[in-house]
Symmetry: C2
Subunit: 296 residues, 2 copies
């Protein structure tokens, strides 16, 4: 069998984003962790990680991490049957990649009861879909919530529904830029807000209205900061309906062009052999997601 | 003088996080951008960036980026005096690194009027303080808002005040874990919520209460997700007072231990020769920050 002390060292260095914190978590000296990684590399015959800040797994390192992640989930099932093996009082951790807007809105409501009941702790990482699925492929996360449908090898994807977005701005912003009424031609000259270089939602919205050109925009990589910037009249942008329901009710934000929603599908990617806990979480999400998502 | 076509190509590749998007922004083919980078490297006599995803500047690349950023800010001042040089209708972009909690709370309210008046677009990047200051050193951002006081070479730091945090949880969470009243010994056994591996705020809070050991926790790298998880009863954690004022008023969240705030100072780091726009923004923040921050 593999030497899991070595594999656990690799997993800790990647998950803790450094040798120092990995050593803390493992209760070892930093040089002991370093030794284990070197020993692992000697066995494998090639590097398992790139010594950068943070350390990055090599291709073979990814395959090993993938394996560790799956073994951990399977161990949990055994621990249920053989409780003596279990470390008492230490809840399981589930590492999940998800999109920022889900985390900012419905995720906690959906998993809160499950987390308390199952005594599971979540290690959440916010990633756009391509990076999230790559992390899954690399075994760094057990599941990934994103808008891409195609599962990675060894995993399944489950359609949960769609998040509904609306293009919003503050009444002051509308008065400043569209005093004479909404006009598409003016929209590209007024500042928009974009989450980051990988966020094409605003572009898609404009395309759906027939505008293919670029537009002025702020970059704001924070779901809540995004809404704060809209409220402050700094621009227009697409926000999950779930996140702006109060502002829409109070009139603090208004749709820039009436009834032009954009729906973005969400798929739950999970390991096929991910163990019972992951299966239960998948079942839980399948049952409850429609409380927050619209049908897709 | 330097060849600024080449330097602009380097800046675009780093700022757009890739050759393809850099080419789009510059209105060039991807191979033309690639050529410019190679030419620059031939002149400098060494690589200016590491071809990773995303590309990363080398040490000499950082120095060049730093220079480009400063030249851009100085150009803006000249453009005011010599408007003919100015591209009409294209607002200036200001790239700023800041902490997630400021962006989630007071930042937009503070800079909203300034942004509209000065027609400036913000490229915001969310970073913990060490990375943010490194980006500043590297010339990738013009300013950095963080809790570290020491300015990088060529920059100044200005104390704006402090964000006040409170350790909060939902009433249901308190009832589940502290039915017999709050007890410090129990706190480390109940799940906390931590923003990410670099967030030591919860640890500091426990230390201030005399607890030095580790504690169970979820990881949630989203300011808004953090509050959602607290509301869902998944754990306890420190939240800016600004962000939870409504929940504290309605009783949706309560302090886990009465009147034990933690204040975190915020410093505004800005280039000494950063041009007039940056000076005006600095002046604006100096004047208004006390509306949201407590004295430090």
């Amino acid at each position: 069998m593999f030497d899991y002390k070595l594999l656990a060292a690799l997993a800790a260095v990647i998950e803790q984003a450094g040798f120092e914190r990995a050593a803390q978590v493992l209760g070892l000296s930093q040089s002991a962790v370093s030794q284990r990684i070197k020993l692992l590399e000697a066995r494998v015959g090639q590097p398992v990680l790139v010594r950068a800040t943070p350390p990055v797994p090599t291709e073979v390192g990814r395959q090993l991490l993938n394996h560790v992640q799956q073994v951990r989930l399977l161990e949990r099932d055994v621990q249920r049957q053989v409780p003596a093996l279990d470390e008492p009082g230490l809840p399981e951790r589930l590492r999940i990649a998800l999109n920022a807007d889900s985390l900012a809105t419905w995720w906690a409501q959906a998993v809160g009861p499950f987390s308390a009941e199952q005594q599971v702790l979540f290690d959440l990482v916010v990633e756009d879909q391509d990076v999230g699925l790559k992390r899954m492929q690399g075994g760094e996360v057990a599941a990934c919530l994103c808008s891409s449908e195609r599962p990675v090898a060894g995993a399944r994807s489950l359609a949960l529904g769609a998040m509904r977005y609306r293009a919003l701005a503050s009444p002051a912003f509308m008065a400043r830029h569209f005093a004479g009424g909404f006009a598409l031609q003016r929209l590209v000259r007024t500042p928009g807000i974009v989450f980051g270089p990988d966020d094409y939602l605003q572009h898609r919205y404009l395309a759906s209205l027939g505008i293919e050109e670029g537009f002025l925009h702020h970059l704001c990589p924070s779901s809540e900061g995004f809404v704060r910037m809209l409220e402050a009249g700094m621009g227009w942008g697409l926000v999950p309906e779930l996140q702006a329901s109060e502002q829409l009710r109070s009139g603090a934000l208004v749709e820039i062009c009436a009834d032009t929603p954009v729906d973005v599908p969400l798929y739950w990617h999970h390991w096929r052999n991910g163990g019972q806990l992951l299966t239960q979480l998948t079942e839980h999400l399948r049952r409850t997601a429609s409380l927050w998502l619209v049908p897709w």
